[in-house]
Symmetry: C2
Subunit: 215 residues, 2 copies
DNA sequence: TTGAAATTCAAACGGCTGTTTGAAGCGAAA
DNA sequence: TTTCGCTTCAAACAGCCGTTTGAATTTCAA
């Protein structure tokens, strides 16, 4: 169909611009937050016209929605740590694996790290867009943490206790990743290379393991 | 001296305006952050003229500096938990006391809670004003945490290990206080009354105690 | 090559920002 | 009562914000 071809070809060019805008927006929103990140800066980084955001995404909010969608997918879909893999390990092994995986952004400051920064912004000032996202299902980092801690807790534990322990575990790596830049400066001066990461994983695994094993 | 009287009386009126502005600014910056909190909203809440901020504080930044100064003093000067008190307790008692004290804002959402929110904003986008503040001395919550964990760690522990453990402990109550509003909503739905606070303190004390005691 | 649809573009819009300005109000000393 | 600082005030300033607009350009089927 000529009509379909038109749509396909047109959308190819569209996808190039859209991808560039989403990539630029991810970096900008990660650095300045949603309110602080301006459309002018995003379009400038993406080498696109200001109006492109409204043309392709209906506005700044629509673009942000796409960024959150990509971030969520990156955490949900990629197989870098799935539930089955955790279950196959011993409780101790699963705990260590969990901590190691979510501390990785400390040394590999990549795309995932930008997504975590966006989540950090959302923890200070939640946007309705993001709230709608997590309302449908808790972020993966929490679901996996619950899976890990449940293997340590007795069957009869109250759901409140499970939630406390799950949050307690989940926020440990989140803290170090989120605060990495601040911790690198005085008075802490923690520089995270591969070795330091291993030592941190060792320390946190030990602390959490003994804490959880006592239940 | 007539000159002194002039100064005194003039500064009395000045102090009223200054105090109202600082109070309003604390609330606004806590809710919207430094960038997001507008001078117009602050002066409106303080029932002062817009220009008053520049007249009394030299600008928005000067007003923010005063807010941070008050926040720092509230944490540093008040005797609601001092180092000597911690040292007088058993290691376990000190740990519990520490967690309880810094989880209190969960149920008493007061001025201290607003200060914590400002610190949360700073953790996402540190301002130079705040960085200069904490560079001169680590916040009290970290100094006390170090004091608590040092009693569990062997003498020969590396300073890195001490720092890891200290941060690990310190961010536990900070997380729950900072995320209180989010945790109150689905999918977590944690409402913190006095009883729930006690249960949380119990859980965290148990988890941390067993973790630290293993060193 | 023509024509119509999709996309880009520069410019402008209204609104909000922090700050500046110069006059007006005020209280106490002379 | 007059005078003189200190403080307040409404208005205006320049600048950035997200969005809209309508024309120019590009794209590609016919």
């Amino acid at each position: 169909m000529s009509n379909l071809d038109q749509v396909r070809v047109a959308s190819r060019s569209t996808e190039v611009t859209r991808a560039a805008l989403i990539k630029a927006a991810t970096a900008v929103f990660a650095e300045y937050g949603y309110d602080g990140g301006s459309v002018r800066l995003i379009t400038q980084k993406a080498m696109a016209n200001q109006a492109a955001v409204n043309y392709h995404f209906g506005g700044k909010d629509g673009l942000y929605r796409e960024v959150l969608l990509a971030a969520t997918r990156a955490f949900e879909e990629n197989a870098f740590l799935d539930a089955e893999e955790l279950d196959a390990l011993s409780p101790e092994g699963a705990l260590r694996r969990y901590l190691h995986q979510f501390l990785l952004p400390l040394v590999k400051r990549d795309r995932v790290c930008r997504y975590l920064r966006i989540f950090a912004w959302e923890s200070v000032k939640p946007s309705e867009t993001f709230s709608a996202f997590i309302a449908q299902s808790p972020p993966r980092i929490f679901r996996l943490a619950e899976r890990v801690v449940r293997r340590f807790l007795p069957q009869e534990s109250s759901s409140e206790t499970v939630t406390f322990a799950m949050l307690w575990l989940a926020q440990q790596p989140m803290f170090f990743v989120r605060e990495a830049e601040r911790l690198a400066k005085p008075p802490f001066s923690l520089k995270f290379d591969d070795d330091a990461l291993e030592r941190l994983v060792d320390t946190l695994t030990g602390l959490s393991l003994r804490g959880l094993a006592g239940f």
